[in-house]
Symmetry: C2
Subunit: 409 residues, 2 copies
């Protein structure tokens, strides 16, 4: 541990040197706080550090960040269990919200002062973010920055799965394996915008009281929910949304009605411990039942995959996403959907926030809030956070909570 | 060969005994002509024979058949290369058209004299067919029985793939691997009912003149059409319709745009010779690239299978199909779609018709026409057909063709 700590310090120093130094006197250089992932691994690979503030390039928007979304995908990035990850050190995060501070040449749709939410291909967890304007969307006046951080990725993903990949229509049924998460809650709300849609949700029993009203039928993750669904709906369901992708994928496929669609939108079963276990990772990959197209043909079934980050950043899908966002903002303005915020965390609390999503403790979205100060540590907590929070301001404000639970918005 | 011929005769006699005899004096029993498959295998397993005429059970419709559709699937049935086939001897055929001759108790939607088309779970290739009324549809006055035999299975399959499984919308692109077949021609016509849809078709060069106008871009099956499509549309296509399902499936998947859908609706690559080769069958099955859901997730792709017979007869899909048929008949009445008939064949010519579909020589639909007499044999043909045609009427009428090409409607 000591060895690793020493390495980390050197590494962090090196990063600061690299970003800040070389040529210009560091005093003239604008710096910002950012979460840095020094290498793939456990929580100890995350640090809050100082980093050179980016300036917007052609077509980009520079955002003074207020809130960032924290997603299960960020945990997979930390462990290195995603497909072709960039080389660390890196600043994680795929979405942020804030105020436009400046714009690059040829940037047309935004002005200084605009309240926006944005997708970023990494680098979202920082005080300042630059991203191409095709990934930026203006906020409705009524939408808070906390709501916005719970909106973009989750609602766009839920909407596209239900209406672009699948073709959700009146009278259909949907099974969502993670009903309590941010995507699950968005799915439940979007299903309620279509008449007579039945939502089967699976969630930890601890969340049942909180989310009971959001779905039609709710099952405990630790029961044989496939059988429970079959009891209620022997003919099966029209759409299954699976963010786990593991042994249950085959079972879930068996639940589909003819012409039903199974959508894999995550592979969280690949995450088993705090660090990537290559064995469990490979096991998950191979245990996922490979699908023979001839079997799909015989059974009249559809298997789909959906990854919003890949669609946006690798596959040129920003135009498609923009039109989806327009429709979603209309639904928001009509008060038909409302993002569910689980909790807000200071940048320095990123490890605790990540642990909470790892433990699947959240109901709705986990958010990093740039203006929030860390909640004081309890005596039993380790000193790790003070290390991590080397740049943090002094705790102040609403820190009367005895436990390390963040302020819930 | 002599041995096999002797076996066949015994087998045929046995079938006639079984079906006609036992209990009643055969003189009082109503008989009908039917195509009989005596066992899985080559063309020599097919015979026209006499069979006891069925009577409609509760909820069934009895149809005096005028025309029957012949599909690639019938060839796979003959070879035994389908999933859980019934035990032969059997009468093949999944669709027929004709006039209602009587109805069973509780049958409500049909009357004697109605002109109808119907799906049948085998037993379509006979002079009289009984099938549950849920599988029967009235013909528009203008629709001939030949058109009707080219309509039901192909247009329903094409429509459901494009609009129920996939979600074809304005501006999309579709690649169909068998543009010249009956489903391919139905796909092309249905695509033309949606604004600005690009259809990429693949067909044997021999068919290009005939079908050139039905699609936007036409490729020779013997060229690297995947590359050709990429040249025209580097971003890929939205929907691929594949009735081959073999080595090209993986390549076809690579052609999909993000959120694009690959639909397997047949596995005709499993048919290599006249008889089933277990080796080639197993090879095809295993060579079909199994799909890892995580790969679909990373690439934002959708893999679907569609089998109309399974949907109708194993999965209770008749209600869904009925509403599709209603929409299709509206399109027919609006003259937006029109079935393409390749050729009409006498019942006794079933082997030649099957050979033609095996050789993929057809443009549009092959039809068995109960009222047609066999075209006379050419000197070089074998005597097999005269055996097969033991019940046939004398050739008469439009038999002036020198080659064994049937009358084209």
């Amino acid at each position: 541990m000591a060895q690793e700590g020493a390495d980390m310090t050197a590494e962090t120093d090196c990063m600061i040197d690299k970003n800040v130094g070389s040529g210009e006197p560091s005093r003239n250089v604008k710096e910002m706080r950012a979460v840095m992932l020094s290498g793939f691994g456990g929580l100890n690979k995350l640090r809050v550090t100082k980093k050179l503030m980016p300036e917007p390039q052609r077509g980009e928007v520079k955002i003074r960040v207020k809130t960032c979304g924290l997603n299960f995908l960020d945990l997979m990035v930390r462990q290195g269990t995603i497909d072709s990850p960039p080389k660390p050190p890196l600043v994680p995060g795929f979405e942020c919200c804030g105020i436009v501070e400046s714009v690059g040449k040829t940037t047309e749709r935004f002005e200084i002062g605009d309240r926006v939410m944005a997708f970023v291909n990494y680098n979202a967890w920082a005080e300042v973010v630059c991203t191409p304007e095709e990934f930026v969307y203006k906020l409705p006046d009524e939408m808070t920055f906390a709501e916005a951080a719970a909106f973009a990725l989750n609602f766009v993903a839920a909407y596209m799965m239900l209406f672009e990949v699948a073709n959700l229509r009146e009278g259909m049924s949907v099974l969502v394996f993670s009903a309590g998460g941010a995507v699950g809650q968005a799915v439940a709300q979007l299903c309620s915008t279509v008449p007579n849609v039945t939502v089967f949700g699976v969630a930890s029993i601890l969340k049942h009281v909180a989310i009971r009203d959001s779905v039609t039928h709710l099952f405990d993750r630790n029961t044989d929910y496939i059988q429970e669904v079959k009891k209620i709906s022997p003919e099966g369901v029209d759409i299954v949304l699976d963010c786990l992708c593991g042994e249950n994928t085959g079972k879930g496929l068996s639940l589909l009605k003819p012409l039903g669609m199974y959508v894999v939108y995550g592979a969280s079963n690949m995450v088993t411990g705090e660090t990537k276990s290559f064995f469990s990772f490979a096991k998950s990959w191979w245990q996922v039942e490979k699908v023979n197209p001839i079997k799909l043909y015989e059974e009249n079934k559809v298997m789909a995959g959906f990854s919003l980050p890949n669609l946006l950043f690798k596959q040129g899908g920003s135009g498609m996403v923009k039109s989806v966002m327009d429709r979603l903002l209309r639904l928001y303005n009509q008060k038909k959907i409302k993002p569910v915020v689980d909790s807000l965390w200071a940048l320095e609390e990123v490890k605790e926030a990540m642990q909470r999503i790892h433990d699947r403790g959240n109901i709705g979205k986990l958010i990093l809030d740039m203006e929030k100060s860390p909640t004081p540590l309890m005596a039993s907590d380790s000193t790790e956070t003070s290390e991590a929070g080397e740049e943090e301001e002094e705790p102040e404000g609403d820190n009367d909570s005895k436990e390390r639970m963040p302020f819930i918005h």
